[in-house]
């Protein structure tokens, strides 16, 4: 039962025992309480509700500031120079200003996911009705179907309609959060950070709402470890057919393309391929669609001329997509109010007219908000235009690359290389190419993030990115891979199954490779990390662009990692959950552990569950190419849950890290809930946010950050083994901090016991206890503490 906006008005009522006149009753919402779980202490937390928890974490993991910009120009009193301890006109110092900018970034991130969720939910309600049920895997036993929402919002959404209420709360919080960044509001860096955590938490709920809505309504794979494999890569696109390219994150317009093709029985005649998260969600909707690649594949694919029409929705789309598309005579259809690209709104126009205008080139594109219309227009335009365009491309062939690179001025200050975020050796490659040696340019293909800044910087306006693609023709043609379609949530049963292996020391941890494609050395590093950890029997999770990169490399037998490793949430599995909004399932899996094993109540019980996860769940996120504000808010959602995140070198541009100090012994105490005593638990995990310079550093750190105070001796032994083994293999020496992580001799991995023991003796190591850890005194059970009545 669920009623809304009930209004009762009685002017006059008279019976034997009642006399009423002028009675008005308004009830916003009437809910039948079906959920037996009692409401926890913090449903719908507001800005400062969880501040104590945040400050506990920030006490251990103090912000380490790396100002990316040392002025503030947010108000007209500025710009203010904040260097050397100077304060701004409003009184803010440089540390708080960094945190403030991070807060703004996280608000943008949270707003983006939440707005995406709002659009999806409203759209899906209109299409499927507000009573359409939430089902993310009931048939495979997903009982805890919206763990993040339960934890934060305190309700169990059952229908699409229920999600609207959740969104109301999120939007309210984002408004408050953004207002905090106004001049003359918050003044403390740590309070800014606490609000950053809050934005991250709100973002996590927003992502969950978006993904469970689309999984439920569209019937995307429901917690399916055997979700199909889908073709990926530029070489996988059949360019003899009309090609529709979809870019962005919000899948409804793309689904209408598929539906229209299905209705007209054209599925085999037109290629539908996607870039970025829309590609993930579209292949979840229909695995006959294809994935071109991550966001960095935009310029190369558009310029290659494959696409006969481009349909964009929202987020992470190149803002010059229209100009680029015009070069290859490809019309662009914009479908989101958030991204209209200056195009005319044709939503109300007849389809025939729009099609004709686009095909005849009378208009470079159109805004169409009606998704059904988008489906028909896109298909018809692609089919009519394909034979005319003849896949017109602006990527030069090899001879032309050689000829044109001769025009490179070889500027002494190499502005192209300076402009390149990864400092790629562009001038050398250009010089080689001008002498008919194309390997140099081709070698840049995998490393290039496709930003095109080299071209903007070129003094001769040479299309350098196009040369890189042109020189890599062979690579492009061979770029055919397989990615496992995003499976959605983790099954409750899968979590139950790994409980034993984790405590028995057979699974060292969970590594989540997530985020965008701003890689320092190409996507292959993400694939290599995934392979290394999967081989070491970690559970590897992935999402978004990282999940695509993992699938874009083959072994000697031509198999991608998704073909080599299973999609189960289990030792050695590589689990693609889906698009960025599916990141919520990674957090959700961690949250579910507390409910499944310890029967902790999730409902509105954030602090206790975060404490549980922080002290017990050995999970680490690696966002190797984190680029966006969304990536910032996703990471902060994990921090508040106490899950550490490692970013690539570009991640340092997020302005500050959250680093623990292992040398400060007093920082690493927790309560033993059994005795109430404070015990040394070691720096587990040592950091909450860490930027690694190299893939090797990231891997060693990830292995180390999987350790938690609750580890069983066998669990700790396998974690230590992997940390030590990776450290030895990648750094060539033993780690020097092992004495902080060994509690008892049973923690020592058998095969390197002697070696470690020797180090421990040198460090004067002493045996320690293994506690039942918590940072919250209220959870102490023994010796005068609370009894376990959760």
């Amino acid at each position: 039962m669920r009623k809304r906006n009930v209004h009762i008005k009685l002017d006059r009522l008279k019976s034997d025992l009642t006399e009423i006149s002028g009675l008005e009753i308004s009830i916003g919402k009437a809910i039948e309480e079906e959920w037996a779980e009692p409401l926890g202490p913090t449903p719908c937390p507001s800005l400062a509700t969880l501040r104590d928890w945040d400050l506990k974490l920030l006490q251990r993991y103090k912000p380490f500031y790396m100002p990316y910009c040392d002025v503030c120009c947010l108000c007209t009193m500025g710009k203010c120079d904040l260097t050397q301890g100077k304060k701004g006109a409003c009184g803010l110092d440089i540390c708080a200003q960094q945190s403030r900018v991070v807060l703004i970034a996280c608000c943008i991130g949270a707003a983006t996911h939440t707005a995406h969720a709002r659009h999806l939910v409203e759209y899906l309600i209109e299409k499927y009705g507000c009573d359409s049920p939430i089902d993310v895997g009931a048939d495979v036993g997903v009982e805890v179907e919206a763990p993040v929402t339960r934890l934060v919002y305190g309700e169990k959404p059952k229908t699409l309609g229920d999600l609207e209420d959740v969104l109301n709360y999120l939007e309210n919080q984002i408004t408050h959060l953004l207002s905090v960044a106004h001049t003359g509001q918050e003044g403390s860096k740590l309070d800014f950070e606490s609000k950053v955590f809050h934005a991250g938490m709100i973002d996590q709920v927003g992502m969950e709402v978006a993904d469970i809505a689309q999984i439920s309504a569209y019937g995307l794979p429901k917690a399916d470890p055997n979700a199909p494999l889908v073709e990926t890569g530029m070489g996988a696109i059949d360019s003899t057919k009309p090609v529709i390219l979809v870019i962005g994150h919000n899948v409804p317009p793309a689904t209408q393309i598929i539906d229209y093709l299905g209705e007209k029985d054209l599925m085999g005649s037109v290629e539908v391929a996607g870039i970025c998260c829309t590609a993930h969600d579209l292949t979840r909707y229909n695995p006959r669609a294809k994935i071109v690649g991550p966001i960095s594949w935009q310029l190369r694919f558009i310029r290659s001329g494959f696409s006969d029409v481009i349909v964009v929705d929202e987020q992470c789309i190149r803002t010059d997509v229209l100009a680029e598309a015009q070069r290859t005579m490809t019309p662009v259809i914009a479908t989101s109010e958030k991204n209209c690209l200056g195009l005319p709104n044709r939503t109300q126009d007849p389809v025939d007219q729009i099609v004709s205008d686009l095909v005849e080139g009378r208009s470079p594109g159109a805004v169409i908000f009606d998704t059904e219309k988008v489906g028909e227009v896109a298909v018809r335009v692609s089919m009519l235009l394909s034979p005319r365009r003849m896949k017109f491309k602006v990527i030069p062939d090899l001879a032309k690359v050689i000829e044109e690179t001769k025009r490179c001025a070889q500027c002494s200050n190499a502005p192209c290389r300076k402009a390149c975020p990864n400092d790629l050796p562009i001038p050398d490659a250009m010089h080689q190419a001008s002498e008919s040696i194309l390997e140099g340019l081709a070698n840049l293909y995998d490393l290039c993030i496709g930003c095109g800044r080299c071209e903007s910087a070129c003094t001769n306006d040479l299309p350098i990115h196009s040369y890189i693609i042109g020189a890599s023709k062979k690579i492009v043609n061979e770029e055919k891979f397989k990615v496992r379609v995003g499976r959605g949530a983790v099954q409750d049963v899968e979590i139950r199954k790994v409980g034993g292996p984790i405590v028995l020391g057979e699974i060292p941890g969970v590594i989540a490779l997530v985020g965008c494609a701003n890689y320092p050395n190409g996507g292959i590093e993400v694939a290599q990390m995934a392979e290394e950890f999967a081989k070491r029997r970690y559970i590897v999770m992935s999402s978004g662009c990282a999940a695509m990169s993992i699938g874009m490399y083959c072994d000697e037998e031509g198999k991608t990692l998704y073909e080599q490793f299973p999609g189960e949430f289990d030792a050695g599995g590589i689990v693609n959950v889906g698009s960025c909004v599916a990141n919520s399932h990674i957090a959700g899996a961690a949250i579910k552990i507390a409910s499944i094993f310890a029967k902790r109540k999730l409902r509105g019980n954030y602090e206790e569950i975060a404490d549980y996860i922080h002290n017990r769940v050995g999970a680490v996120g690696i966002a190797w190419g984190a680029m966006s504000q969304k990536a910032a808010s996703i990471a902060s959602g994990f921090w508040r849950l106490g899950v550490p995140v490692i970013v690539g070198p570009h991640g340092s541009k997020y302005r500050r890290m959250l680093l623990g100090r292992k040398d400060k012994v007093k920082d690493w105490y927790a309560y033993d809930t059994r005795t109430g005593e404070k015990v040394f638990v070691g720096p587990c995990p040592e950091h909450l946010f860490y930027a690694a310079e190299t893939k090797e550093e990231a891997m060693v750190m990830a292995a180390k950050l999987c350790m938690r105070p609750n580890d069983t001796p066998r669990g700790r032994a396998i974690k230590l083994y992997n940390y030590i083994d990776l450290h030895k293999k990648l750094y060539g020496v033993m780690p020097d901090d092992l004495h902080l992580f060994v509690r008892r001799d049973a923690d020592l991995p058998i095969t390197i016991k002697d070696e470690v023991m020797k180090i421990l003796k040198e460090k004067d190591w002493k045996e320690n206890v293994i506690p039942d850890p918590t940072l919250l005194p209220r959870l102490i059970r023994g010796k005068g503490g609370l009894t376990d009545e959760r």
């Binding site: 495979v140 409750d492 199954k497 405590v503």
Partner: protein, 463 residues
């Protein structure tokens, strides 16, 4: 020739470490293999011997060695690990034998699958080329890892047979050892031992749960038997497996022991007062979350159903495994829901206080097949699976038609028609359906010009 060794890590031609455990060697990467489907006789065996019968550190290869064999082939093998020590008991043999699998897998480029008479070992090309060209290396690894892992082992010798005749000659002896070992595991009763074992490994995630492991009750995860727990305690006396002195037996049918209660109280900080090892109802054993199956009470037939973790869909009571698991986990006692290991179905004391197999009415076909030999023959056809009954109604019919023991006491009650009293609505029209304002009782209400506004109203259904 490889020199004999002790506990210090020797130099090996390839790496040896825990990370290689999950390594798979596909056929193209394989130098050669032992056992597997192509080979009829293959085995591995661990035996406890008197101290004077074991030559410490000795590794012997009987038959041709790796370098004498044609690459690409499949060969017979027998691996015999003989250990001795004052504290090495015969009961430890099974536990030690399973370690052959793990330790062999720790070798880079060596894959080991299965156990006993079913072993399958592949040697990778790369490792062979790196110098792993003699089975003596395998023996050396085993000697070293056994000695480092089990301080109770004073002496160990490893013999690896590749000589077909010798492998076949010893095979009946191995079969005899396994037969006797299984027989002991099957017939050993809780009454026969002095100590049970506790496992608090899962307290890592479920802080108030403790498993009691006895000869007749394997840990709920199915991974740790009484023998395993005993061995684990031997290796790590301060670890998560420790002995529970049984103390006085308070109730032999339910399996209530004074010693068990004492430790359960202590480890649950008083939350658990008493544990019945063989009952689902009266102070049942608690569970963490990783139990393999659930024994669940079905009140309509006064019987017990079993469901395992991999069962997809709805059980006979309309609930999924996951839904019931929610009631079973978290270290609390939940009468009627018992987290169990599948192996517990074979126990001599399987839910004996509740009637044992006589009370079991529904088991998924996969599990029924797996434990068929443990189900009393006269009950085999009387226990329903998902193929026989999908609902309680079908189950009742099935049990009655098969004369299941519970059918005798099963009274099929006519479903009581609960006549809902239609509330008298005394308010006039314009009231949305679903909102009922009861206006009965002995008071008179007068409301004038009242405005009641609620953002949200939560209605609780009366139980």
């Amino acid at each position: 020739m490889v020199e004999p060794i002790g506990t210090a890590r020797p130099e090996f031609p390839v790496d040896v470490g825990e990370m290689y455990e999950g390594e798979r060697i596909r056929k193209p990467a394989m130098h050669l293999e032992f056992g597997g489907m192509e080979v009829e006789k293959k085995w591995e065996l661990a035996l406890a011997r008197p101290l004077d019968q074991v030559e410490d550190g000795k590794v012997t290869v009987v038959g041709p060695d790796l370098s004498d064999m044609e690459p690409g082939g499949s060969y017979p093998i027998g691996v015999l690990v003989e250990v001795a020590g004052a504290k090495v008991e015969k009961d430890l043999e099974g536990v030690l034998e399973r370690k052959i699998h793990y330790f062999t897998n720790y070798i880079e480029g060596v894959m080991h699958l299965n156990q006993r008479y079913d072993v399958w070992i592949r040697i990778g090309k790369k490792s062979y080329q790196k110098g792993f060209n003699s089975l003596e290396w395998l023996g050396k690894v085993l000697v070293w890892l056994y000695k480092s892992s089990f301080p109770v082992i004073e002496k160990i010798q490893v013999t690896i047979y590749t000589d077909k005749a010798k492998i076949e000659e010893l095979f009946p002896m191995a079969m005899d050892v396994w037969g006797k070992r299984d027989e002991r595991a099957r017939t050993l009763k809780d009454e026969d031992v002095k100590e049970f074992y506790a496992c608090v490994m899962c307290q890592s995630f479920a802080p108030s749960h403790m498993c009691v492991i006895t000869p007749n009750r394997i840990a709920s995860c199915g991974s740790i038997s009484w023998f395993d727990a005993r061995a684990a305690y031997n290796v790590d006396p301060k670890g998560p497996n420790f002995p529970i002195p049984k103390g006085e037996c308070i109730d032999p049918v339910k399996g209530v022991y004074e010693g068990v209660n004492k430790v359960a109280q202590e480890k649950s900080l008083g939350a658990i007062k008493s544990v019945s090892l063989y009952s689902s109802f009266d102070n049942p054993h608690t569970s963490c979350g990783c139990f393999e199956g659930i024994a669940f009470y079905i009140p309509e037939v006064d019987g017990i159903g079993i469901v395992h973790r991999d069962f997809k869909g709805h059980t006979v009571n309309g609930l999924t495994f996951s839904a019931m698991a929610g009631h079973t986990s978290g270290g609390t006692q939940n009468p009627g829901f018992n987290g169990i290991a599948i192996e517990y179905l074979r126990s001599l004391k399987f839910l004996q206080a509740d009637g044992g197999w006589e009370r079991i009415v529904w088991v998924p076909s996969q599990i029924k097949e797996r434990v068929k030999d443990a189900i009393p023959e006269h009950l085999l056809g009387k226990i329903a699976t998902e193929a026989d009954s999908k609902t309680i109604g079908e189950l009742k019919e099935f049990l009655v038609s098969k004369s299941h023991p519970v059918a005798n006491r099963l009274v099929i009650e006519e479903a009581k028609e609960v006549k809902e009293e239609a509330p008298e609505v005394v308010l006039p029209a314009q009231i949305p359906t679903g909102i009922e304002i009861p206006a009965r009782g002995g008071i008179r209400i007068i409301l004038k010009n009242v405005k009641i506004t609620a953002e949200k109203i939560i209605v609780k259904r009366e139980k």
